[in-house]
């Protein structure tokens, strides 16, 4: 089948997003995690732009702008500042070793595609196949949050999940209503700030950002 160009582009970006999600899942070093996160944001912005252009959804341009400012520039910058301030550049050790994580990830992707298939059937939008990818990247970043042991990388996982959601929103439904988008963006921003505050508190309390310090409250 031959889709129109922009549809192919969107699918390409979608594929890129998935790839990046995998890359983040396997990435050991925090710095490069942040770079990957920024890159993901960038791809997200591009895809949103294409969708906006192709479907003439004017309000999507705002979200393009939003993505650029927030996900490509602001958040990575904040994260950089954080790890500079806390100098936690060392490698991230994971709970499960990388290959196993990869395998689980692949299983998840298949699962997500199956999940999204029936929906994509009924999707009216040109970008039907992307929903599955969005779902997949959400699950993948979830998996990443589970497997990481450093607070920072967990946060990055969370943000990546937001990206996945955002992508789902734009590609599957041409974006949510603007007010909602703004609200979401605001929450993400505030959230990140608060995360930052936490890093400092945790650090000054435990001299490290390793979350195995945070395992005292338990039931046995």
């Amino acid at each position: 089948m031959n889709l129109p160009l922009y549809a192919q582009l969107i699918n390409l970006f979608a594929a890129l997003l998935l790839l990046l999600a995998f890359a983040m899942l396997t990435q050991r070093r925090i710095l490069s995690l942040i770079r990957l996160f920024a890159l993901q944001g960038f791809v997200l912005m591009l895809s949103t732009g294409v969708v906006a252009y192709s479907t003439h959804q004017s309000h999507l341009y705002y979200s393009v702008l939003l993505t650029l400012v927030l996900k490509v520039l602001l958040l990575p910058w904040i994260l950089h500042r954080l790890i500079d301030a806390l100098n936690v550049r060392w490698d991230v050790e994971t709970l499960i070793d990388i290959p196993a994580t990869m395998l689980i990830g692949i299983v998840l992707v298949i699962f997500a595609f199956n999940l999204a298939a029936p929906i994509s059937e009924i999707a009216g939008t040109i970008t039907r196949s992307t929903l599955g990818i969005a779902t997949a990247s959400i699950l993948l970043s979830f998996l990443m949050m589970i497997t990481r042991r450093k607070a920072v990388s967990q946060v990055i996982g969370f943000l990546a999940m937001e990206n996945g959601l955002f992508f789902a929103a734009t590609s599957a439904t041409y974006g949510m209503p603007l007010v909602v988008e703004l609200g979401i963006a605001l929450d993400v921003l505030v959230g990140t700030f608060i995360f930052g505050v936490f890093f400092f508190h945790i650090r000054e309390t435990f001299e490290s950002l390793d979350i195995h310090h945070l395992e005292k409250l338990k039931e046995h």
Binding site: L95, N114, P118, F142, M145, T147, L217, K218, E219, H220
Partner: protein, 670 residues
Amino acid sequence: MDLSLFRPVEAAVTLSVIWLGLGAVGLALTRAPRVITDWAFPAGAAVALALAFTGLWAMNAAPSTAVLPAGLPDLPFHVRVDALSGFFLLLLGGVSFGISLFSAGYFRGAEAGAPGLLCLQYHVFLASMGFVLIADDAYLFMVAWESMALSSYFLVTAEHHDERNRKAGFIYLLVAHLGAISILLSFGVLHGGLGDYTFDALRRAELSAFWATIAFVLAFLGFGAKAGMLPLHVWLPEAHPAAPSPVSALMSGVMLKTAIYGMVRVIYDLIGGIRWEWGLTVLLFGAATSLFGVLFALMQHDLKRLLAYHSVENIGIILIGIGLSMVFLGSGHPVAAALALIAGLYHTLNHAVFKGLLFLGAGAILRATGLRNLNEMGGLIRYLPHTALYFLIGALAISALPPLNGFVSEWLTFQASLQAPLLESSVVRSLVPIVAAVLALSGALTGMCFVKVYGVAFLGQHRHELPEKPREASRWERAGMLWLAAACLALGLLPVFMIAQLNNVSQALIKAGLPDEAMASGWLWLVPTSSAQASYSPIVFLLVIAAVFALTYFVVRQIYHGRLRRADPWDCGFPAQTSRMEDTADGFGQPIRQIFAPVYLIRREIPRPEDPHPVFKQEVEDRHWAWMYSPIARLAEWLSGHVGRLQQGRISVYLLYSFLTLIALLMFVR
């Protein structure tokens, strides 16, 4: 005044509300304890008396209903007073009258602390019992039921500095609450999904045999737990002794009876369509309970604990009566059923009276000597002559000795069990006599137990040096005991009147009563079915004995002489006589402990031969803890241990939980 406007139900509601009001007054007057003891409690007693008369009135009047302006939106509080609740109101009022009088004297700086709070809890307790008896919808019933448990819980823990009292209160409220939930579920079964919880609706809903049986079992267990039926009795011997004595009297005398009321109300009235299998269940549980209760009572040396175990026994006897009537009713012999039901209800009343009396007596002893342990008492008849007399009456009554009231109800129960030949199923027919045998055995054992109690506590020489000479009970206290003792005599000598009243109850409840011949045979002769079959006249009984007594006394004095010499006891010429040589309470129970050894869980500490100060210790414990309660507790512990593993602090694991939940649900949905 127009009686059509003012019916038993209004009277009952008003009086219960007045009780609540008295409680509030008591709380308000915490600063003035004397006012509370001198006015609030006597006022409560007056209310009780009025309530008793209301009950009597209701037993001879048509059922009257009313709706209170409160409750759930679709379910305002319905109240109804019919013959059955009338009878129990009579019980509540009559017994609590004596107890309130006693309390008026007792709570002046006795065991329990602030009279203000006590007055509140005491009267709320009474009022909630009143509401239990007149409730006509499941919700009001449950509310009153649990308020009863709650207020009595606070009374039990009035002495909360004592660790044992706290433990007792805990077990008590726990069992009460579980029982309540089971009753609640029984109501849930009964109301066939129509969102209406009035008892009328519950009566109307017809159930399949299966669901009816479920409802019966739930109700039986729920009320049984409150009544102290085996094996749910464990709270009773803990809680009743812990409370201040008048409260123990109230709990043992009246509260247990509300459980009987609930059982009769729900099984006979609401569920209906009684099956003889149910009756057999009740019968067997009753027999086991009565035997067990008295056997453990014989092992006690704490007076109040002993009395509590006797409550267990008597509940068993009452259950035997009710079970018999259910068996007869279920196999279609309404007249015999009526007889058994009347026997059961009459014993309910009698037990309320004499058990109340005995607990008050125990209270008087406790107050005079500060003792609860029988092994330290002795010779009290010389210090507390009045209490001794009243206690003797109570003891004879509970031992089912003619001509007192305990005997009448046991006699009726025997008569009912002798109707067994009517039954078709030969199994049941041959089970009933065995139950009768058990009843006879436990009756005789009760006699032994109270010879022990009275002999050890009041007779002989006292085994314990008291700080000062014990003082006889105050006027209020004596009045309370006198009232109940008189009731014992009256119910024992003139049973016919009460039986006639109970006949109304049974007419109203199972549409059957005693045959007319029985009713027609006059006030002197108590006749269950026909005078050819059996008859009993306590008055003739008493008169003959009295006459012979007087005659002999007179004759002996006249023909011979009345000369008398006082000397030391002879005792086979044994030189020394110390109080340590007489039997203790434990010693008195020793033969029983030997004969029924398998029943008990006995822990002995036998001193080593070289022990300079040998101490022989022996504890008799209840097996039910071992085989029933501890395992449940351990199971819960174990489960919670494993559930606790879920939560072991690692955030990654928590994330994993939500992740897996998500995946699982997604798979489930697709």
